[in-house]
Amino acid sequence: MPPRLLRLSLHFLSARPAARLTRTTPHYPPRPIPTSTSSPRAYHAYDRPTPPPYPPTETAILTAALGRVPAHGFSKTALALGARDAGYLPVSTNLFPAGEMELVKFWCTKARLGLGGTVEKEGLPEGGVRGRVKELVRRRLRMNVEGGVVGRWGEAIALMAHPTYAPTALAELSRLADEILFLAGDASLDSAWYAKRAALAGVYAAAETFQTQDTSPGCVDTERFARERLGDVESLGKAFGDVGEWVEFTVHGVLNGLRSKGVRL
């Protein structure tokens, strides 16, 4: 979802805080799971190969550079060391005009695409979209810990907040929200589609910010934080969902309502 749309969807959210995470549909992602790449989100094909998000050289350098993040942070140093580790000259970091932001983006992409992998390996809990969303958010937050980037994630957030990179960061955040809702089997197709993605993106961004300050073992406090915020969104949805529904169906609803009262329309 381009940033313009994210803004639109945030507008939807403010008009209707009713992110209805409550609607459950018995839908699981079909296999093989088609994952979004770094290209703009659009039609996903199942019977055509999906090109990897980065070419092989870039993938090798960025993967090696991630290994240097715990010690050197999301920095040009980590990129240069990564290039060397992967067997390239340090000058090959000019493959990445966005510099250290590319490293941040690579991690986000890798983790996002990794979610589909966890679904193939571990499956997802039964019992509704809500529960599966919570579980996927937990897994994604856990990746920050297990990937060793959590101690340096504050730097990444500072980079993403930079005006130059904010659109990229927002686009990536909306792709993550879309990935999670798709994997969770959400099938909403009205303005709830936007409201849910906006609400989930908001909760996830808040949880990641919380995570940078989290000193609990394995960042379990962050997981609880995310679970509770998602719960808040649900109860907001319950409280305001009917209003949103009403606005949306106004004309149709008025017509049918009058008909049901015996008015001959």
């Binding site: 979802m1 749309l5 639109l8 939807f12 549909t25 018995p26 839908h27 699981y28 992602p29 079909p30 296999r31 093989p32 088609p34 979004s36 290209s39 703009p40 989100r41 659009a42 039609y43 996903h44 094909a45 199942y46 019977d47 055509r48 190969p49 999906t50 090109p51 499956g123 039964e126 879309d178 798709f182 089997g185 099938a187 197709l189 009205d190 303005s191 589609w193 936007y194 606005v247 949306e248 169906f249 106004t250 004309v251 149709h252 017509l255 008909r259 001959r264 329309l265």
Partner: protein, 255 residues
Amino acid sequence: MPPSHQLAILSRRSFHSHRLVSSRPVPLAKYDVNSLRRVSSAAAAQPQYAQNVLAAGGKSALTPSPLSDEQKRFLDSALRVNQAGELAAVLIYSAQTPPIVRTHPHLLQLMKHMYDQEAGHYKTFNEILVKHRVRPTVMYPLWKAAATTLGWSTAVMGREAAMACTEAVETEIGDHYNSQIRVLLDWAADLEAKGEDFGPEMKELLATLRRIRDEELEHLDHAVMNDAKEAKPYELLTNVIRGGCRAAIWISERV
């Protein structure tokens, strides 16, 4: 058939050309809504879909190359428009039916038949959107209100106006589906020239679009047979509605 009807039909060049396209043989089995439903229901269905795709895809010597970004964008916006349009159709017919049936009880069967087909189209595109991760249009709430208003207001104007509404809408929609079918046929021809297979997904989509297009043109037929051309003021009414349809398509393609 009264002469006015024959005239009316003869004057619809585009109508006849739809028929020519639609009479091409469809080389595929009909779109199986049931198999799609099974895809999206419950855990047990997961491997089955993969098997279907693999089995179908594995038959061709050359698997199709990835869709280009441009092709993906085309499918993205085309499917979004189709879903919004079918929702509008469902709402138009459901708003029209009670006033029309009250004054013309014999039209109940026809209205129900068209409504049921539209509901089927809507369901088909809903499933396609979720499966292929196409976002719905931002204008959803607006289209809902507009479609219901259009359906109800034409119906209270009388049977002819309601049918003129159907005729205008289905003419635009028929053209719209035809242009999508032409694009897919072009893609298929390009792949064939390269010795590649069109792939099961695109073949299925093409068959679905053709089937739905034919049903829309059947609705157009019914509308003309039911005196759509007698509506007053016919030109104004149909031009306004057709303009509205084109505007709605243009907007939904973008947002």
